[in-house]
């Protein structure tokens, strides 16, 4: 059905042409599910966009052949390409929040492909749209039909995207990181939905992802890409159990594993460096002068204690209040009830997105010296020396001090972020999703660094994450939050083998680690 031969993609927007995809080859049968994995910049999304004809910038050159049902897509006219788009080839994107038009109803958007590609009457289109929404397992499709995107959650919006994609019953569905922006439990549901569509309608799926465990769950064949090249491709079982290439091996090794047994450590004799007692936070909102005031409770009585040298994992999905808690702890949110116990200036924070949290107009050295300047009492040379020492600690070259944040890679920036937080010698580090924005191999390196720093400096870390696998590897204790409350707490071993709250079970299942219990018992 789909045959891609020697696809090359080149950009010509700089003085030197830059090739982003080299000799990409792929063939797919009717009803196939193929995964393309790779880290950012590997060319996986570029290849996918080229297949569905969405790469048509003037400054780029495409060579090779893309045959779809016998038709050559690279050389055919725009008009011919448009006839396939949305009809035989459909695509869903990573960002369900922004991929839908905010001022049009869901029904209008789902029906769009029908209006373009079929001669259906209004009633027929309505019926078909309701069918697609039902297929995408949206509750109450008749109601959703009349709603607007902002009234739906991220997961529901992605289901709407899927409904709009399947409304013309495409032969090929391209899914470009469709679950990356979603919570783990919703990720699992979307994967199940894709599997069902493939089974029931024989829709072939090209699944692009950086998440190897998802690819393993969904796909039959995998293509591994790095720097624009295909490194390895084959059946899922073969690639995961017997990878041939060095890069594939590295990629698989960096998936945080939960299978090694972990010893429980007792911290109760250590000094408590951070404690929270019965923290309550609510937001008030009102509309206009006469608007009614509304109260929304975000945190409902959260308590915990963090000991010296301990890594406490805080796990929950978006909206559970974990970021609000972090803000309360570091003092960015003063409107709370309850008590926070910690020495003044002993808590520092590491943010999720190291790029937007570093001033782009200052050098790394300047940024890292700032806490010392504010503290005062350091001469210029002394500050410089301390920055260089810190760079060494976070395993960066000293030259980095004279560079700007944009000149660094994501991993380097996060190292700078960590170094910056450590400059004022805190006792506690609050890390809010510090590795979520990073590629898997980089993620593994940053986790290793945090582990090392903790041991060297006797830090305590509050590690906030939605990823149970990462948390299992790094943390000594875990608390699980849902809707502003702590629903479960304990050591990783206890949580993963003998959890009590059903929500914990749901999270574990979604992360694909339900087997840990049996593995540990065996």
């Amino acid at each position: 059905m789909l045959e891609v031969k020697n696809l090359n993609i080149e950009f010509h927007d700089h003085s030197l042409p830059e090739t982003v995809v080299y000799r990409f080859n792929l063939s797919m049968e009717e009803g196939d599910i193929v995964g393309v994995v790779g880290e950012s910049g590997s060319g996986k999304t570029m290849s996918a966009l080229a297949i569905c004809g969405l790469l048509s910038r003037r400054d780029m050159k495409k060579e090779g052949e893309i045959l779809f049902g016998g038709k050559e897509l690279l050389t055919c006219s725009r008009h011919e390409m448009r006839e396939l788009q949305g009809d035989d080839i459909a695509i869903i994107f990573q960002e369900p929040m922004t991929s839908l038009n905010p001022v049009k109803t869901i029904g209008w958007q789902v029906e769009e492909a029908l209006r373009i590609h079929t001669e259906m009457t209004k009633e027929e289109r309505y019926e078909r749209a309701i069918w697609a929404l039902t297929e995408a397992e949206l509750p109450n499709p008749e109601k959703v039909y009349h709603q607007y995107p902002h009234e739906l959650s991220g997961g529901m919006r992605q289901r709407v995207m899927i409904a709009a994609a399947i409304v013309c019953r495409p032969r090929l569905l391209i899914a470009d990181e469709p679950t990356t922006a979603l919570d783990v439990t919703i990720q699992a549901e979307i994967i199940d939905l894709l599997l069902k569509l493939n089974r029931e309608h024989k829709t072939a799926i090209l699944f692009i992802s950086h998440d190897l465990s998802l690819v393993r769950k969904l796909c039959r064949r995998v293509v591994v890409m790095q720097n624009g090249y295909i490194v390895e491709q084959g059946a899922v079982k073969q690639i995961f159990e017997n990878p041939q290439q060095e890069y594939t091996k590295r990629l698989i090794a960096s998936i945080p594993s939960c299978e090694e047994g972990k010893e429980d450590k007792d911290f109760s004799t250590e000094e408590v460096v951070l404690s929270a007692a019965d923290i309550h936070v609510s937001y008030h909102s009102s509309h206009g002068v006469f608007g009614k005031k509304q109260e929304q409770k975000v945190l409902k009585g959260v308590s915990f204690a963090l000991h010296k040298g301990e890594v406490l994992g805080l796990v929950g999905e978006s909206g559970c209040g974990k970021s609000t808690l972090a803000k309360v702890i570091v003092g960015l949110n003063q409107k709370y009830e309850g008590q926070i116990g910690c020495a003044k200036g002993s808590v520092q924070m590491v943010f999720q997105d190291p790029y937007s949290s570093l001033n782009p107009r200052k050098t790394v050295g300047w940024i890292m010296e700032e806490p010392l300047k504010i503290k005062g009492g350091y001469a210029k040379e002394e500050r410089r020396k301390k920055v260089l020492e810190m760079l060494q600690k976070v395993e960066l070259e000293p030259e980095i001090a004279d560079r700007y944040p944009r000149q660094l890679s994501g991993g380097q920036r996060q190292r700078v972020g960590i170094g910056l937080a450590l400059m004022s010698e805190p006792k506690v580090l609050v890390a809010d999703e510090p590795v979520s924005a990073l590629d898997v191999t980089v993620q593994a390196q940053i986790l290793k660094l945090l582990q090392k720093l903790k041991e060297e400096m006797g830090l305590a870390i509050l590690f906030i994450s939605h990823d149970l696998r990462v948390v299992y590897q790094l943390c000594d204790n875990i608390i699980i939050m849902k809707d502003g409350e702590i629903v479960e707490r304990g050591t990783p071993q206890k949580i993963y083998t003998a959890h009590k709250h059903p929500y914990t079970g749901q999270l574990l299942k979604a992360a694909g680690i339900e087997t840990v219990g049996t593995a540990a018992q065996a």
Partner: protein
């Protein structure tokens, strides 16, 4: 409905506040209506007597309360200088200014939306660049100067209308509209270039957003994406801008009326201010403020009708 009711109450409160502030201004700024009315015949005794007769010797709050009470009843008072009821004086001026404002806003919409779409669609083309350069020039031309140029070009060179030969709508509606089109163009020109510029950059910005990629992936062509998806989103800031422009036009029409010799509200406002003819000035300013507030209210309503996200907030 509840939302509209709230909106109306807020509007009325704003109007009362505006009228109070204007009233206060005229009390604070120097100048005595009695003195202005008497002119050269003024002696301190006669001024005092006239002040008493006009009720100007009463305390500020009493005068304001009195004015507000009659205004709400529909009585705008009498002109100090002409002794005529203000209502009568304004009755035949308001339609002229309103016609001119509405005509210019129609011209703005009719010209700038197609131009904005065209330049956004052909971004970077020669025509786009020419329009961009023209825009930069036109934007810098104030309405009164555009008025002078138009009088020169269409009136004196092309002889399409007689400069200064205003035709009243009582004489001939067609003639009136034919004359009014030129001042309307003068007012519209600089606003058109601003609207085109704003719409173009809005459309180009929207074109880069994720949902347009989704629209292309369903088989839309560029025209479909632009008209069916992008335009409605890009119109949101334009509507706010047009609302502001409309109020700007009403206030700014005063000068253009002078240039074209049109006996609209502008002329009467100017003479009344120099004569300290407060009842007339108050009436005109409150009318202008009401127009501004009503237009802003309408913009809010249109905005909500287009953007469902705002609709939700208004209802909750």
């Amino acid at each position: 409905m509840k939302y509209v009711g709230k909106k109306i109450i807020t509007m009325c409160l704003t109007l009362i506040l505006v009228s109070f502030l204007v009233f206060l201004c005229f009390t604070v700024i120097p100048g005595d209506p009695a003195l202005a009315k008497l002119g050269t015949e003024a002696t301190p005794e006669r001024v005092e007597a006239l002040r008493k007769e006009m009720g100007l010797d009463r305390p500020f709050m009493v005068r304001y309360g009195d004015w507000l009470y009659s205004f709400v009843k529909g009585d705008m008072g009498e002109s100090y200088s002409y002794g005529l009821p203000v209502k009568e004086m304004l009755a035949d001026k308001v339609p002229i200014t309103v016609t001119m404002s509405v005509m210019s806003i129609l011209i703005i919409v009719a010209v700038s939306i197609p131009l904005g779409l065209y330049t956004a669609k052909h971004e970077g083309s020669v025509t786009d660049r020419v329009i961009y350069a023209l825009n930069q020039v036109v934007m810098a031309v104030p309405a009164f100067f555009a008025g002078i140029l138009i009088t020169l070009l269409f009136g004196i060179v092309l002889k399409l209308f007689t400069p200064g030969g205003y035709i009243s709508y009582n004489q001939s509606v067609a003639g009136f509209l034919g004359y009014m089109i030129f001042p309307s163009i003068a007012i519209a020109l600089p606003k058109i270039s601003m609207t085109v510029k704003l719409l173009r950059s809005g459309l180009i910005g929207e074109k880069k957003l994720d949902y347009t990629r989704t629209a292309y992936s369903r088989g839309n062509n560029t025209k479909g994406v632009l008209y069916k998806h992008v335009l409605k989103n890009a119109m949101l800031p334009i509507i706010t801008f047009l609302g502001m422009t409309f109020t700007d036009i009403i206030a700014g029409s005063i000068i253009v009326e002078q240039v074209f010799g049109i006996p609209g509200m502008g002329r009467i406002l100017l003479t009344s201010i120099s004569n300290r003819d407060y009842p007339v000035v108050m009436a005109i300013i409150v009318c202008l403020a009401a127009a501004v507030i009503i237009i802003n209210g309408l913009v809010d309503l249109v905005y909500q009708w287009i953007d469902p996200r705002i609709r939700l907030e208004g209802e909750s």
